[in-house]
């Protein structure tokens, strides 16, 4: 098993995932505001991963400068128009809506992530009523796998105490790769593109969508890098 040193990407990822998860599970203007501010804080603290690498930033710099209740209320209306309803939403935040032969909820791809949650010992609240593949649950699961991967990685395989099984690190890495690269990679970019193509996407939501896409692409690229046998160990791991 490769030994991977903990990169500064992990806290950045955790910070981003938490804020994105909270944003996409928002129920109110207040939730959207809090998650947006948290997302801005991640950015301030860690910088934009793209900008750090010298590529164009994933979203324009600077936080949403207006901070009035009306501003966030408008963001809430737009958020509901895009993702929640009651009207038919242009960008349903469910994997199944994008991955099934025909768009629907509770398809086979929903069961895939349900199986993953179960393997982690988790389930969505009201399983059966709540689609398991809502973006916010998938981000929550990614956060869990990130932590698990980190925990496994920091322990040299030989010193892994019970109950950590010897293959945990590789299982966690493989689960992470499946979730963020394979599964989310198949729908999140399309989801983001569609949401961004809608008229009047407020800046806070446009930024979150862009950061989500950056995160997903970078995480998938990092997975691909780890999987390339010829990768030079001296090459720095792409920053997450």
């Amino acid at each position: 098993m490769d030994h991977i040193s903990l990169t500064p990407g992990t806290p950045r990822d955790a910070c981003l995932l938490r804020a994105l998860r909270d944003l996409f599970s928002a129920r109110s203007a207040r939730d959207i505001r809090a998650a947006s501010l948290a997302l801005d804080a991640c950015r301030t603290r860690f910088g934009c991963s793209r900008a750090v690498r010298g590529t164009p930033p994933c979203a324009p710099p600077g936080a949403d400068s207006i901070d009035s209740p009306g501003h966030w209320r408008d963001a809430e209306y737009a958020f509901n128009r895009l993702f929640v309803g009651p009207m038919a939403v242009p960008a349903p935040p469910y994997a199944s809506a994008w991955l099934e032969r025909e768009p629907r909820l509770m398809g086979e791809s929903t069961m895939d992530v349900r199986n993953l949650y179960h393997a982690l010992g988790y389930a969505v609240p009201d399983e059966g009523a709540t689609p398991d593949d809502h973006l916010s649950f998938e981000l929550d699961a990614a956060l869990a796998l990130l932590t698990l991967r980190e925990a496994a990685d920091t322990l040299p395989p030989s010193s892994a105490p019970e109950p950590f099984p010897p293959a945990l690190a590789s299982d966690a890495q493989e689960a992470w790769r499946w979730l963020v690269a394979e599964h989310m990679g198949a729908w999140v970019p399309r989801f983001v593109q569609h949401a961004l193509a809608e008229p009047d996407v407020p800046p806070a939501i446009a930024r979150a969508l862009a950061m989500l896409l950056c995160w997903q692409e970078d995480a998938a690229a990092a997975c691909a890098h780890r999987h390339t046998p010829s990768a030079n160990a001296d090459t720095p791991t792409p920053s997450l």
Binding site: R27, S28, A29, E76, Y77, N80, R81, V84, G85, P86, M87, A88, P90, A91, P92, S96, A97, W98, E100, E102, P103, R104, L105, M106, G107, E108, S109, M111, D112, R114, N115, Y117, A119, L120, G121, A123, V124, E127, G128, A129, T130, D140, L143, A144, T147, L148, P163, P165, S170, D171, A172, E174, W178, E182, A186, R190, H194, E198, P199, V201
Partner: protein, 777 residues
Amino acid sequence: MSKTTGPTGPTGPTGPTGLNGPDGTPSRGGASRSLSRRSFLKGLIASGALATLPCSLLMPRSASAAPFSKSDFQIFRNACPRNCYDTCSIVTYVRDGVVKFVEGAPESTYTAGGLCVKGYSYPRRVYSPDRIKYPMVQDGRGSGNWRRVSWDEAMERIARKLLEIKERDGNLLGLALTKYSGNFGITNYGVEGMMSSLGYTTRLVGTPCWPAGIDAQNYDLGDMWCNDPEDMEKSRYVIIWGANPAWCSVHSMKYVYAARDRGAKIVVIDPVLTQTSAKGDVAWQPETGSDGALALGMARHVLDLGLVDRDFVTSNAVGFEEFAAYLRQNVTVEWAAEKSGIPADEIRRVAEEFATAKPATIWIGYGMQRHVNGGAAVRAIDALVAMTGNVGKVGGGARYGHLQTWGFNYHAMIQKAPAGSTGFVGKAGPKGEFDVTAGAAAAAAYTDRALNINKTAQELLDAQNPPVRVLWSSCKNPFAQDFDRNKLEKAFNKLEMVVSVEQFFTETVRHSDIVLPVTTLFEEWTVNASYWHYWVSLNEQAIAPMHEAKSNIEIAALLSKHMNRLSPGSCTYPQDIDTREWMEKEFNKGVYELLGISHWQDLRKGPAKAKMPSSASWSDRKFKTPSGKYEFRSDLCASHGHKALPEYKEGRKPYAPYRLLTPHSKFAIHSQFANLDWMEEFQKEPFVYLNPALAKAKGIADLDTVRVFNPSGEVKLRAKITNTVPGDCLLMYEAWFRKLDFNVQNLVDDESADMGAYKTGAPGVAIHDQFADVARA
């Protein structure tokens, strides 16, 4: 920012194969299929060290979190609750708590293992990404600015408003209910129960669909009671008059075919050449609304030929001689031919064949009575069937509909007003054909205030002391179904609060302040009966209600909780209910005996059919009319302001050059189903269908965009040119398209049909007595 994705965007067309994501690009779903075989899952499970994961939304899973078996299919009994002749018994296959597919129940000889194209699409409905998922509040009606709220918040808002208007007006007549046939599951009458439990309220009463015919049959026979459709195969002659079962009652067609296989002739009468016409031996396309004249012309010929069933008309009927005199004095076959456009010789031939074939039957469709003379026409057809001795006969009958299997307890519906409630003082009639409380209401000091559902817009505008302030809409989509859409918009502007209980974002939801997500048939317990066949089906809850959907009775219970919290005693509705228990409470000894079952649980094995003395209605010839006989002359009818005899009544005078017909499509029932992707594959957009001669006169080419307009309003859509529509008609199917702004009610006014007030509380609507003009857009 503008949309840059072009035609593959989510509002653009999806490919014909349907193998696309919401963005129209081919899905890559196959990539993730093998997850369950991935070894990392086993490794993660084995690790047992996952307790400290930082999940905040996901919850530690307990064994009970997954309520359904994960291995095999679970099989549930359901029933299609739509306003459809067929009320299919459904078998639902569930895996992992998800409805995988549905099929028709094989136990019902009527459903016979198959559904219609709409029924098969049910999984698309439950799991549609478009479904309304949460209670939501709109800040500014029509603004599109919606906020998600909790159920408690939504109900508290409504409860506060109701208490406020009760305080202001001294009663709750400012609260109105509009509900009709969106979900016929018996427990859904709990919505009416919710209203009663709050006090005396305003009800939009009546029924848009079939009331003129109901009254007509009640005058003639004493009830609306049709033969078992399954005995149609024993008919020697079948006339399908103003119905299109090849589209709208597909399960009945097998009996029509069986009759023909046994030598029966099939005659289809419809102004439009329908799929059913195409399958008949004779297809008549009479002038729209001339049905009464046609039936009377046939009756006159039967009389002239001496083919009247003397025994029936003398022993089992009253008024036949007066009817015969009317025919001799006022009706000739030539007159009927002139009125209807059907050649006199053909009328004579079919009349004679009908009178000599034994048994012979007429299926009276709902389309032919949606006229200002619709009730009179049904009476004329009833008379034709009766005088030829076909009433009370197996394989015979004037088939319209029945409510024989609807003898439930209506436990959910019958609720008491809170002590001290005041309401409307005045005459109380029935609140629709299913109103079992009609008798009791008449005796009370106060009643609900009845407004005519078929004139919803005008009635909402006119209601005073108090005006209607709050409108609750459930099992109904007023903007798609109520007449004169432009007027309705004005009426809605007057309302202080609109609550709609819905599954999809209809035009009515757009005009609401609060929307509440309601369960589909798979998410609640109930029981369903048909107004056509004689099977009764249990409807089991097959899956957990998706998202935050609640059933109508659960919504009522929650409202009651909030009403009582804010003002103890203000609502009598039980506050904790279990939909399965409430389904059980609908059963009684009478229902069990009728169905030949000892317990409702027996219905889990499959639907049950009513054990009737005969497949023929009125087989004992004891009629429920005042005379106890078939009434060719109905004094009751005369006392209600109509003719005592089934005389000819003139149709509505045209007010625009062409007749406008807005019948049902094969891919929708009113505004339901048309919004589902599978239906959109077949029916992406509305068309107006017109005859080549009319198209030529107007310079309209196939697929041109045209304007159809009349004094009520206009619609813009593309034209299709077809010989199936007569030269003086414009035809467009009623439907609701999720992506298009199309509404036939822009063009349909609220002119009343002649009958309906007697049995349903308000006359029907002359839906097919509408006129319009057309021009290239």
